[in-house]
Every structure is written in structure tokens, then in C-alpha cells.
């Protein structure tokens, strides 16, 4: 513009105040996260029981996966019900690279993350022309195709999967047979990194663009937002972290087969904590996972085997209750500093 609309002299101080209070809010979030993660890191000192530590690892892993899903589903509003595909890509990449080529799982996970991100870009280029439910249905179908492919792909062990070799406990190979505590720290680290990524995204141009795309794509376009590249970037970042989580899961259970990492059930398990806790919020996925995962693990062990599906019925009941009572997620029950909305600042 030749001459930008001139600003009255009174403006800067009010503007500066608003900018400063927003900065305080942001740093507060970071501090809360630091305290929370340190407290979780101390948990293994208190929780000695191996079974409970196992539940802790799964809870942290699903919190990270839910947070990763939230990047695409929560911030960008693209509801994927096929994230099991990326989880599987990560699990298989880490397993195959380690077992067949001796590549340490640390690198295998990153390779898996890269592959998943690439896959998300390719799939996104095609699928993001679909809107709303049509997009969600496409993600289910594509993930099911991935499952079928894994079932029939001899190079990846087909239906019998890939067994990790037994070896000494080591951080290099991420194999810990006796004491599972290191897995707690790794899962916590993954959660912390994913959370930090979300925190950075929330106040970045991409983050605001994604929310604009979610709220009203036409208006976003008229304001210079490139909608398709925005969605693709969100999908790639989300897929990357999901696949790293998949790689970690494979190292954790030392085994991968199609049904244990790529079933539709995993796509749901990744989404439900976000819906329960609060979609598109910084803390919702963690809160949701902290409630759902222990609940499902305890119900599985106390009320029957994993095949009964009772845990999923409990999930369904909880999500229905949330939808009726607190559609924005349980995080809205907490003070606003957790819920991520700056309504208190009004």
C-alpha cells in the first residue's frame, strides 16, 4: 500500500500491554510443562511395580501420539481416522532397519518419521481436496489398504511380522528386558518434544494459518493463506511424530506385526484422548490420555482379555458423556491457563 492507514498516537501503549500479557501467558505455559514433566520423571522412583510402569509408558506414548494427531486434527481441523498407517510405517521402518540392516532404532525411528511425513504429503495432496467427512472416510480406507499391504508383504514378514533379536539391555538399541524404567524416560522425552512442537506451532504463522483453515477456508484464502500447502504441512508434521511413536512402540514390545500396530483400533486410540481432553488445545491430549489409557489397561487386566473389547465400550461411553456434558473437552473444566484459551484476559 502506498500509505498505510496512519495510527493514532494513543495506540502503542495498549498494544504493547496486550503483546506483553500474551508473552507472559506463553511463558507460563512453558513453566507449567517443565514442572509437569519433571514430576512425571520422578514417578518411577515412587512406582516400583513393573505393571504400573508399563501402564505409565503406554500413557505417555499415547499422550504423545494424541498430541501429534492434534496438530492435524485439532489445530488444522482435518479429522484423520487413519493415523494407524503412520504409526505402522514408523514401527515397521524401525524394526526392518534394525533387524535386517543393523540400523539403530534411534535412526530407524527418524527414517520412519521421514517416510511417514513424505507419505502424508503425497496422500494429502490427493485427499485434502475432500472436505469434512469425505476426508475422514478416505483416511480410514487408505489406512486399511496399508494394513492389507502389510499383511501380504513378504519382505516385511507378512502376517507373522518381525521379531526383534534378544540382546543385552542398552540405550543404543533401546532394548531393556529386565527394568523397563528407561522406556518411561524415552516416552516422556517423546511427549515433551511433541508438546514443545505444539507450543511453538501455537504462536507461529503456520499455527494461526491452520486454525484459520479449520474455521473458514474461503475467508483464509481471501486473506492470503495458501490452504492446500497449509494442510499438507500439518499432515506431514503430525505423521512424523506419529511414526516416531510407532518406532518407539516396536522397540518397546520388541515385535511388530500388522494387527498389533496398524489396526483401525489404533487410529481410534490416538484420536479418543484428544476428543476427551479437548481438541485443538495444548493440554487436552495429555489430560485425555492420562484418563483413558490407565482406564483401558486396568479394565483389560481386571475384567478379561484384550479380545473382549470392553475397553473400547468404556471409551465409547466416556466420549458420549463428554459430547453431551462438555463438548469442548474435559480441559475446559480446568482454569483457563490450561485450556489454552485466553478468555480470562478479557
Amino acid at each position: 500500500m502506498q500509505t498505510s492507514p496512519s495510527v493514532p498516537a494513543a495506540a502503542p501503549s495498549a498494544a504493547n500491554d496486550a503483546v506483553r500479557s500474551f508473552g507472559v501467558h506463553r511463558r507460563g505455559q512453558l513453566l507449567i510443562a517443565l514442572v509437569l514433566f519433571v514430576l512425571i520423571a520422578l514417578l518411577p522412583q515412587v512406582v516400583q511395580n513393573a505393571y504400573l510402569r508399563n501402564v505409565l509408558v503406554l500413557t505417555l506414548l499415547y499422550a504423545a501420539l494424541a498430541q501429534a494427531w492434534n496438530i492435524l486434527g485439532g489445530y488444522c481441523g482435518q479429522i484423520s481416522l487413519g493415523h494407524a498407517l503412520y504409526f505402522g510405517v514408523g514401527a515397521y521402518a524401525a524394526s526392518k532397519l534394525y533387524v535386517a540392516f543393523g540400523v539403530l532404532p534411534w535412526f530407524g525411528m527418524l527414517v520412519g518419521g521421514g517416510l511417514a511425513a513424505l507419505l502424508a504429503l503425497v496422500l494429502g495432496y490427493g485427499c485434502f481436496r475432500l472436505k469434512g467427512h469425505y476426508f475422514s472416510i478416505a483416511t480410514i480406507v487408505i489406512a486399511e489398504m496399508g494394513l492389507l499391504l502389510a499383511h501380504n508383504w513378504e519382505w516385511l514378514g507378512a502376517a507373522s511380522g518381525i521379531q526383534w533379536p534378544f540382546g543385552p539391555d542398552s540405550w543404543a538399541t533401546l532394548q531393556f528386558a529386565r527394568d523397563k524404567t528407561p522406556y518411561v524416560y524415552f516416552a516422556l522425552g517423546l511427549l515433551a518434544v511433541t508438546w514443545l512442537a505444539c507450543w511453538l506451532i501455537e504462536d507461529s504463522r503456520w499455527g494461526y494459518w491452520w486454525r484459520a483453515v479449520k474455521d473458514n477456508p474461503e475467508a483464509a484464502e481471501s486473506l492470503g493463506v495458501t490452504v492446500l500447502p497449509s494442510k499438507m504441512a500439518a499432515a506431514a508434521i503430525s505423521a512424523f511424530f506419529t511414526a516416531v511413536g510407532g518406532g518407539f512402540y516396536a522397540a518397546f514390545v520388541s515385535y511388530v506385526d500388522p494387527d498389533s500396530v496398524m489396526q483401525f483400533r489404533f487410529s481410534l486410540l490416538i484420536v479418543l484422548p484428544v476428543v476427551l481432553g479437548g481438541i485443538g488445545t495444548l493440554w487436552g491430549p495429555i489430560l485425555g490420555a492420562a484418563i483413558l489409557i490407565p482406564l483401558t489397561e486396568f479394565s483389560r487386566s481386571y475384567m478379561g482379555g484384550s479380545g473382549s473389547g470392553l475397553d473400547l465400550m468404556i471409551y465409547g461411553g466416556l466420549v458420549m458423556a463428554v459430547a453431551l456434558l462438555k463438548p469442548e473437552g474435559l480441559i475446559r473444566l480446568l482454569p483457563s491457563r490450561f485450556s489454552g484459551k485466553k478468555e480470562a484476559a478479557r
Binding site: 500500500m1 496512519s6 492470503g224
Partner: protein, 244 residues
């Protein structure tokens, strides 16, 4: 007033199936003016507006902006060149606060969030929404939502601002404030094109008016010329006066 042409529409036609919404429209927007785009319902105003904004491609014809052919460019690219628009029914980003809504516009010129936030807050001040900066958009009154549309569009630092019925449905005092804001926008150097139904409000505000009827340009000129034009009177004012 400068007569430099900011927008030129050449033989622009837009069909929707069998319906010809715009037929061989030749029109121009001069830099620095407020141009009213008026006409009865179904005249093709909104279609023409969308063709300039880039929300729709024309079926045939050419649209030039600052002499550059923008006919094939999508809205996103036109925004970067300096064309911004508002929507008749406000399309705010409802999960965001007012200042964050405006930041989406600022990001066209500022990559960093701090700079974008600052520019957005300044724009809220310019449009009189500074006190609502941290409010969520669903708590705004309808006139405030209209202002937010304008603030968001201005945040992209446009050369051309397209306003789609921003004054329709406002009370007389709200409309007066709106008129005052549009004048200030023009005084800041932004060319304004406004689609409007309410003749009483538009005519004193605009420098020129283009009247569309049945998808074609019926008349064009100063407000005084246009309202005296017999074709306009019979097509529009003579049939029924819009009091909305």
C-alpha cells in the same frame, strides 16, 4: 482525483450453467476513488465482485490489476498483490480472538508473530475495535463483526479494498460510523469498491457508481449522473425503492 486505472475489466463474462450472471462487462476502478457497484437483486453485482476478488474465475474476458493480467490468479495470490475483500455474511475465525483474526491478514506482510500481532493491534485501533482485541469473535455484535471483516482485510495492506454490503442492515447511527470509517480508509490511500443495496447511504459516499442490471453495465458515472439516468430509474429506482 487521479484517473490512473487500478482495475480494468475487459469483456468479462461469467456463466453458471445456462445462466449468464455477467455478460461482457467493461468496467474500471480508478486509483484513490470510492466506487459503488449497485443494481437491483440478481443484477450480477456479487458475481462481478467475486471475479475481481478472485473467488471465481471468469468464463471469458480479462481482469487487469495495476496493468497486470490477474485473470488466472487465485484469491491468495491477488491478496499478496494488494486486493482484499470482506464478506456480506461475516466469516470470522470463531476459534480465535479478535486480534488473532486480524493477524491472519497481517501475516501477508509480516512473517513473525510479534510483528503481525503488533500490526493487527494497530489495525484494531484504526477500526475502533481495540477494546475487543482479546474477545472471542462469537461475542461480538453484528456491527462489530463487520468492522472485524474490514480490519482483517486492511491488515493485508491492500491497494484495493472490496466491501460486500458492509452497510446493509445497520441502524442509521451504525451506518454513519461505517461511512466515516470507509472515508478514513480512502483517505489513508486505499481504493474502495463497495457493493451496496441502500442507495441513500451509498450515493453521498461514492465518487462514482457502476450500475449493473441483468448481468450488464446499465450506466456509470457520478452519483448525480447515475440517478438522473432514465434507464437506471426504470430498471431500479422506478420499480421499487430499496429502503432496507
Amino acid at each position: 482525483m487521479s484517473t490512473e486505472l487500478l482495475v480494468q475489466a475487459r469483456q468479462v463474462t461469467r456463466r453458471f450453467g445456462g445462466l449468464v450472471a455477467n455478460s461482457n462487462i467493461d468496467a474500471e476502478v480508478r486509483r484513490g476513488e470510492i466506487l459503488g457497484l449497485i443494481g437491483p437483486n440478481g443484477a450480477g453485482k456479487s458475481t462481478f465482485f467475486n471475479l475481481i476478488a478472485g473467488a471465481l474465475p471468469p468464463t471469458s474476458g480479462q481482469i487487469l490489476f495495476e496493468g497486470q493480467d490477474v485473470t488466472g490468479l487465485p484469491a491468495t495470490r491477488r491478496c499478496a498483490l494488494g486486493i482484499a475483500r470482506t464478506y456480506q455474511v461475516p466469516r470470522s475465525f470463531d476459534s480465535m480472538s479478535v486480534v488473532e483474526n486480524v493477524m491472519i491478514g497481517s501475516f501477508v506482510r509480516h512473517a513473525g508473530t510479534a510483528a503481525a500481532r503488533h500490526a493487527a493491534l494497530e489495525m484494531l485501533d484504526f477500526t475502533g475495535l481495540a477494546r475487543q482485541a482479546n474477545t472471542l469473535t462469537h461475542q461480538l455484535t453484528p456491527p462489530e463483526k463487520r468492522r472485524l471483516e474490514v480490519a482483517r482485510a486492511l491488515a493485508t495492506q491492500p491497494k484495493l479494498l472490496l466491501l460486500d454490503e458492509v452497510l446493509t442492515g445497520l441502524t442509521p447511527s451504525e451506518a454513519r460510523l461505517g461511512v466515516e470509517l470507509i472515508r478514513r480508509v480512502r483517505d489513508a490511500g486505499v481504493t474502495v469498491v463497495m457493493v451496496e443495496h441502500v442507495m441513500e447511504v451509498v450515493m453521498p459516499l461514492v465518487d462514482r457508481a457502476v450500475v449493473l442490471n441483468l448481468g450488464q453495465v446499465l450506466a456509470e458515472g457520478t452519483p448525480a449522473e447515475v440517478v438522473r439516468n432514465p434507464a437506471v430509474i426504470s430498471a431500479y429506482l422506478g420499480e421499487r425503492r430499496h429502503a432496507a
